[in-house]
Amino acid sequence: MPEPDLCEISVPNRIGFRYPEVDVPKAALPEGLVREILPLPELYEVDVVRRYTRLSQLNHSIDTGYYPLGSCTMKYNPKINEEMARQAGFAAVHPLQPIQSVQGCLALMYDLQEWLKEIGGFAGVTLQPAAGAQGELTGILIIRAYHQDRGDLKRTKILIPDSAHGTNPATSAMSGMTVVEIKSDSRGNVDLDALREHCDDTLAGLMLTNPNTLGLFDENLEEVIRLVHESGGLVYGDGANMNALLGIVRPGDIGIDVLHYNLHKTFSTPHGGGGPGSGPVGVRSHLVDFLPSPIVMITDEGDDETPPIYGFYTPPKTIGRVKSFHGHFGMMVRAYTYMLMHGKEGLRKVSEHAVLNANYLLARLRHVYHVPYDRICMHEFVAEGRWDDAPEIRALDISKRLMDFGFHPPTNYFPLIVHEALMIEPTETESKQTLDAFVDALITIAEEARTNPEILKTAPHRTPVGRVDEVKAAKDLILACGVGVEED
C-alpha cells in the first residue's frame, strides 16, 4: 500500500517538536505582517520517522542493489565519507566566518583544487559549481568571456556531437550561444568532415564528451582538438565520464581547454536521489583569469614551524559568482576523503577496473544483444534492446523486466544515435559475481523476449508499484496535496 498523503495523517493540535520557551521580554509582533493561516501538518515524531523510513524502503539504492546506469557512474559511496562531512569541525561552520577561523576548510579546498588540477592536467580549478550542469555553464561562460576579452565578439557558435548529454545544448543556449550539432562517424568518433565544415571564425568552441556516450575513446581526438584550435575555438570537455580516465590520461595534456568534474560520479559522493552534486571546473593556463570567484589560495607560505595561511582570491577577469558562498563544501569533504584513501595508485586502479568490468560485460553480452559500435570500450558501452525475431519488445520492456531480477535498469533511449539504446556502465565497485548475475538476468530476458514477451510487456511484477501512467500525471497535474488540516 502506498503511504497516505501528509494531510491525511495530520491531527489537529498534535505536536512534533518542542522548542524552549522564549527567555527574553517579548517584542510586539509586526503589525499587518503576521500570517493567520499556516497550513503545515501536525504530526508527532513517530509518525514522521515511520513515514519516511517506509518510504525509503520503496527505493532501489546502491546500498541495496546494483545500478548499471550508463553515464551516471553509480559507484559505492563509502560510509567514512559521511562520518567525515558530519563532524562539527566541518558541518557546524558558517560560510562567512572570518578567514582565520576556517583554515581547515580552506586547506581542504586548496588541496582538492591542487589534486583535481593534477588529475586533469589543468592550471586552475574552481570548486564552486553545484553540479555537472552548472560546471558546464561555468565552462561555457568562461569560453565566451575569453573570446570577448580578445575582442572576438562574433564567436558564438558551439559545436556539439549528436551523442552528447542533453545538458550540453541546454547549457550553450542558456549562455546565449548558438548550438550546431555534428554527427558521429561509423566508428562512433566525431565525424571529421562534419567538424571541418563548421570550423570558421564564428566558432566559440566544441563541447566534447570523451570517452563519448557510446563509451568509446575518440580515435581522432588529437585531430579533433587541432581542428578546433586552429580555427580559434576552444574545447570543452564534459567530465561526466572521467571515471575512465583517472591516472590513464589527463584531458588537459591532450589539449582540452576546460572540463568539469562530477564529484558525485567519479569521486564517490552520494547521488542523494537526484542531488546534491558538485561540479568543479578545471581550465588550462590561458583561462585561469576567467574562473569564478572566489578561489582558495595560499596567502602566506609558512615554514617548517608554521603551517601556511589560506585565503580567497578573485581572478582578475572573473566571470563572477555562479552561486552563493563557496560551493558544496560537504561534497568536497567526501571527495577529499575518497581521494586520500585511493592515492595516485588507487585512482588509476579505479579507472582500470571500471574499464575491465565494462569490457567483461560487453564480452559476455555482445552475442545476445546487438552492439552497434562494437570495439574495446572504456567504462561503459551501448547495446540495442531489440531483436528482429521479437518485434514487440523495446528497450523499455527489458529495463522494466530487469527490475524483477532486483537490478536497476541501464540508462535507456540515450544516446539518441542508437536505436532502443541500453547504456551500461558497471563501475569498478561491482564484483564478478554481481556482474555475472546481471548478465544471467539479461540472457534470461532475451530468451523471454522470444518465448514469453507478455511477461516483459507487463513488467515489472515484483516492485512496489507497476508501470505508472505518465500521461495521466501530465494531464491531471496533481503536483501537491493540502498538507495541513483546515483551520477550525
Binding site: L6, I15, G16, F17, A27, P41, E42, E45, V49, Y52, L55, Q57, H60, S61, I62, I80, G89, A91, V93, H94, P95, L96, Q97, P98, G104, E118, A130, A131, G166, T171, S172, D253, H271, G272, G273, R321, S324, H326, F329, G330, M341, G343, K344, R348, V350, L356, N359, M403, P409, P464, V465, G466, V468, A473, D476, L479, A480, C481, V483, G484
Partner: protein, 449 residues
C-alpha cells in the same frame, strides 16, 4: 575496500574479454599521453585518512564551541535528530534520480511532500523539486520571466536589499542573455521604502525581485509594490527566508508570481556554505515555463496511487537546447531534509521557532543599540537580523569577538560602500539570553575597556 576482484577473477575476466592485460584495454589512447605519473599522495587506510581529515576539521572554529551571531543568508538553527537519521538512510542517500518510477517511489513521494510543504509555506500553487540554492533560484526566476515574455521585455529590477551573492550570481548567469539589470547600483538609497522600486517600472520590465525579510533583515508588506508591478504588466518575485514564513504573511498573499528562497534554515547544516537548497514556487499558469524536476501524482497499472516525474518535456534531457534550463542534478537530499524538518516541527513548531528568532533578535538589537557608539541603522520592522553602526571597524571588532568565543556579525562594508562601519547581527533560537547578554558585555569591553 571498494575494489572486489582477486587476481584469479581478474585473469578470468581478461580471458573472457580476450586480452592479456588491463593495459591493452587502453590502446585507443595516444601512447605519449597514456598513464601519466600523477603527483598525488599515496593511499591511506580508512584509519589514517579519518585522522588526517579530522585534524583539518579541528583547525576550524566550529559553532558547537563558539557563539554565533552571523547570518547574511545562512543561519545557525537547530537540526532535530530525526532529520539526519532519515537523510542518511542508504535507501535515500545512495539512490539515483527517480527516472525509473517503479523502483523510486520513496524518493518520488518524499519530493511530492516537499512540493506540498513548499506551496503551503509560500502560499503558491506549484513548487519544483529544488534548485541549487537561493542564488541560482533567483537566476532561474529571471530565465523563466524572460521565457514568459518571449524575450520581449529585457529589464529586471533588483532590490539593492537582495543578497549580494544573489545579485552577483544572476549577473553571471545572464551575462549574455540580453537582460539589463537596474535598481541596485552602488548609489541606490538603501533606506528608501521598497515601494520606490515601482518608479523604475516601464513597458520593458519583465521582473521585479525583492527579498523577504530583505538582506538587512527588514520586513515590508509588498502588496502595493506587487500591484504596481502587475499594473506595468511585469512579474513580481520574492526571495524568502522560509523560517520567517512561520510567522509572516506568505508572499502568495501579497501577489507574488514567483517565490524563491534559501532553504538551508530548514534542517540543513551550515557546512561552510553547502550543499543547501534552492526553493522555487510559482503560480499554476507558469508551470510549463518553470525549470527543474517536478513530481506528479498518478496511478500504476495495478490501480494503485503512484508518483512520477512529470512535464519532463520542459527539461534538458528531452528538449536539449530548447529546454527551460540546463539543470539536471538538483538538491534532492536537501529537499528531503526540508520535508522531514517541516513535517516534524509542523504548524506549531515553525511558528514557535520563528517567534523565538524574532523576540531574541529584538532583545539583542535593543541591548546593543543602548551601548555607547552603537546605533540601529534602520527603524523598519525586522525579523531576526538587524544592522548597527559600530564604533570600531567591523573586521577589527569581529577579530576581537573571536577571541571571546563569539562569531560576530557580517561586515556590510564589503558589499555596500555606504555601510562602512556597519555590522549585521543574526539571532536564532540557538542564542540563549545569556549568550546575548554575553555578546553585549563583550562589545562594551572590547570597544570601551
Amino acid at each position: 575496500m571498494f575494489l572486489p576482484h582477486t587476481d584469479k577473477e581478474r585473469q578470468e575476466m581478461l580471458a573472457t574479454i580476450g586480452v592479456n592485460s588491463i593495459e591493452e584495454l587502453f590502446a585507443a589512447i595516444p601512447e605519449k599521453y597514456r598513464f601519466p605519473d600523477l603527483n598525488l599522495p599515496s593511499a591511506l587506510t580508512e584509519m589514517e585518512a579519518q585522522e588526517v581529515v579530522s585534524d583539518l576539521a579541528s583547525w576550524n572554529d566550529n559553532l558547537k564551541e563558539m557563539i554565533c551571531f552571523l547570518g547574511a543568508g545562512a543561519y545557525n538553527h537547530y537540526v532535530p535528530a530525526v532529520v539526519d537519521a532519515i537523510i542518511r538512510r542508504g535507501e535515500f542517500l545512495t539512490a539515483y534520480t527517480p527516472y525509473q518510477a517503479e523502483v523510486s517511489q520513496g524518493t518520488l513521494q518524499a519530493i511530492f511532500d516537499y512540493q506540498s510543504l513548499m506551496t503551503a509555506l509560500t502560499g503558491m500553487d506549484v513548487s519544483n523539486a529544488s534548485h541549487y540554492d537561493g542564488a541560482t533560484a533567483v537566476a532561474e526566476a529571471i530565465t523563466m520571466a524572460n521565457a514568459h515574455f518571449r524575450g520581449k521585455r529585457n529589464r529586471v529590477i533588483l532590490s539593492p536589499a537582495l543578497h549580494p551573492h544573489y545579485r552577483q550570481t544572476t549577473r553571471t548567469y545572464h551575462a549574455n542573455t540580453g537582460i539589463q539589470f537596474i535598481g541596485d547600483d552602488p548609489g541606490a538609497d538603501l533606506q528608501a521604502h521598497p515601494n520606490h522600486l515601482a518608479d523604475l517600472l516601464d513597458a520593458n520590465t519583465a521582473l521585479v525581485i525583492v527579498q523577504y525579510p530583505d538582506f538587512f533583515g527588514r520586513i515590508y508588506d509588498y502588496t502595493q509594490l506587487a500591484e504596481k508591478v502587475h499594473q506595468a504588466g511585469a512579474l513580481f518575485a520574492v526571495s524568502v527566508n522560509p523560517i520567517a514564513l512561520g510567522l509572516l504573511k506568505a508572499p502568495g498573499e501579497f501577489g507574488a508570481d514567483i517565490v524563491t528562497g534559501e532553504g538551508q534554515p530548514l534542517g540543513i547544516p551550515l557546512s561552510y556554505g553547502g550543499p543547501y537548497l534552492g526553493i522555487f514556487t510559482t503560480r499554476k499558469e507558469f508551470v510549463r515555463k518553470m525549470a527543474g524536476r517536478l513530481v506528479g501524482e498518478t496511478v500504476d497499472n495495478r490501480g494503485q496511487k503512484a508518483y512520477v516525474l512529470t512535464l519532463t518535456a520542459r527539461e534538458q534531457h528531452i528538449r536539449r537546447e530548447k529546454a527551460t534550463s540546463n539543470i539536471c542534478t538538483n538538491q534532492g537530499l536537501m529537499a528531503l531534509a526540508a520535508a522531514v524538518y517541516l513535517s516534524l516541527v509542523g504548524k506549531h513548531g515553525l511558528r514557535q521557532v520563528a517567534e523565538l528568532c524574532y523576540h531574541k533578535a529584538h532583545y539583542a538589537a535593543q541591548k546593543i543599540a543602548a551601548i555607547e557608539g552603537f546605533s540601529l541603522w534602520s527603524n523598519a520592522p525586522f525579523f531576526n537580523e538587524f544592522v548597527v553602526k559600530t564604533p570600531l571597524p567591523p573586521p577589527e571588532l569581529n577579530e576581537k569577538l573571536l577571541e571571546y568565543g563569539i562569531v560576530g556579525g557580517y561586515d556590510l562594508g564589503q558589499d555596500y560602500p555606504a555601510l562602512k562601519n556597519h555590522l549585521m547581527f543574526a539571532v536564532t533560537e540557538m542564542n540563549s539570553r545569556e549568550e546575548i547578554d554575553y555578546l553585549v558585555s563583550t562589545l562594551v569591553e572590547v570597544c570601551h575597556a
